[in-house]
Symmetry: C2
Subunit: 336 residues, 2 copies
């Protein structure tokens, strides 16, 4: 890859944005100019990239004809407001906010290799799957030679960083208030999340589903290549700062061969299988890592046709930033 490109990073001052900057440097991505963008409030801050301090600028005034690729990591509203202008400028877009419908911006799983990006035309618009869809899809892809489930059930225990910086601050503040027996104030969430579990992320629709759960199901159907896959999902917020914990169950029509499942997981790309008896955790294993950690591989407790497993994964790094950079690496190989 001798060519280099100009890149815009929208949401540079956020958790995901900062991880993106780090990864572009770490992985020696062929960047020529890197434009760091955020809201006007943080314009003027700076971030270090390849030994230089880069100024953060306001997204509002930015001209996307200067760049060939833009990462969007600044929330749904920002992507929705800008994606048309970005395309009109001839710039490709990798969205991390799950703002665009999957038919407009299909989601891509780098673990599927070059096939993952087939059929896309430049300037492309792609979606980075949500962190728990990524983790599950990596596992489903690994097991595909053995198991094509008819139903999957996911219980995703998401860390508070799912809500960005304000979520992390909220958990820290609430915890300190409770430990010091001060009255509890709530800001980024509407109730106590410290030492508690919140049953949903954001509002739910008439049918009771959160946006995130619907997106997850659609992404899993697309990424697994099983459009008819029945999906049940409950995404909750736990009082954990970083790292997602997932209990995944897959229903098959035949008895599950656990030894064969373990063999596939041991050698799969992107997965670290933790030995039987032990288990991975978000904080102890996954955070800061590029791999999806899998453990507790077993049949349903009284259901031999069910596969249960446990996944710990870094929502900011593997779940978002790394994935986005890996997707960009695949795409530039083909299209630039």
């Amino acid at each position: 890859m001798s060519k280099t490109i100009n890149i815009a990073l929208v949401g540079a001052t956020g958790h995901v944005g900062e991880a993106l900057v780090e990864l572009l440097e770490e992985r020696d991505f062929p960047v020529k100019d890197l434009h760091l963008l955020a809201s006007s409030e943080s314009a003027g801050q700076s971030l270090s990239f390849r030994g230089r301090q880069l100024r953060v600028r306001s997204l509002e005034a930015f001209d996307f004809t200067q760049v060939q690729l833009a990462f969007f990591a600044a929330g749904v509203d920002v992507t929705r407001a800008f994606h048309e202008a970005v395309r009109a400028a001839g710039c490709s877009l990798i969205d991390l906010s799950a703002a665009l419908p999957l038919d407009l911006a299909p989601c891509v799983l780098p673990e599927l290799g070059e096939g993952a990006t087939q059929g896309l035309t430049a300037p492309w618009q792609v979606s980075v799957p949500t962190p728990s869809a990524t983790a599950c899809a990596v596992v489903l892809a690994a097991l595909k030679p053995l198991l094509q489930p008819r139903q999957v059930q996911l219980n995703a225990m998401l860390s508070i960083s799912t809500l960005g910086r304000s979520g992390v601050q909220e958990l820290a503040r609430q915890t300190a208030e409770l430990l010091n027996a001060r009255p509890l104030e709530t800001q980024a969430v509407d109730r106590q999340v410290a030492f508690n579990v919140l049953a949903q992320v954001g509002a739910v629709d008439e049918q009771g589903h959160a946006e995130l759960e619907k997106r997850l199901a659609a992404e899993l159907q697309q990424l697994s290549g099983l459009p008819g896959l029945a999906v049940g999902a409950t995404c909750v917020l736990v009082p954990v700062f970083f790292g997602d914990s997932l209990a995944l169950a897959m229903q098959s029509d035949v008895d599950i061969d656990i030894a064969a499942v373990q063999r596939l997981l041991e050698t799969a790309a992107g997965i670290e299988l933790v030995e039987a008896g032990d288990y991975p955790t978000a904080v102890g294993d996954a955070v800061g890592q590029d791999l999806v950690y899998v453990g507790r591989v077993r049949r349903g407790v009284s259901d031999p046709r069910q596969l249960n497993l446990w996944i710990a994964s870094d929502n900011v790094r593997k779940g978002a930033a790394l994935n986005a950079v890996q997707i960009a690496e695949l795409l530039i190989k083909h299209y630039l």
Copy 2:
């Protein structure tokens, strides 16, 4: 109920034991003498009951012929060591530790009413179902006229008080250490549980199942009256002091009628249904309450034949102590 009985309470100084003492008083249980028992370490402490201070005595020296009923809330080993002597003394036993096989000490769900205790003979030995089995069984019982699932999937996010007083102390200490940036020590659990999720409770067997998960499945099969029910269960520990959070999914062969489910839950004994759009939490709703709180009633996100719901329940009170006293109330009505 004009008769009164003598009662022994084993594990009186624990969380569950203290809740039992409170409930026996609150519900005006026909107790004549109450014998509070614990290990020799806490012998000599005292607890208040009906305005008097009762001394805690050592279990070792206790003569069970003095009592007609004994509650055992002091762990698996204590029940296993004493249950035969208790029976030989002609004393009935209500076990809260899940120590006895269900064929020896069937589990009883008070919500099933008088039928729940049919066929038992005095001196009886019964098991109080584990807290999450109780919560799920109450819901399954309420839905029985509409839905007899072929498969249920439970993800139980259990509070650290599941491990008793030492668990509660552990979470408090770990949290304070982390907030004060002191090095983390682990005692009651083998790794960081503050701001983390632990994927299993206790050790797992060769097949990967924890004792608690197997017990839960067996209890659910017995309590639901569906011995062939396929059960998948993942019980994890979350950094919450009190109150369990359960994500429950039930698989049916036909599309789920959500309105009918809601009607049944609204009027069911022992259940508080939270209105659509809102949801209950362990800390905000369930702790200190006698009811099982249910919310997020919905179909699978892409699976109309699945019912998903969310349950918050007090593991110490409804999940253990209240249940035990309700069972005792049913039994003494018939057998004393």
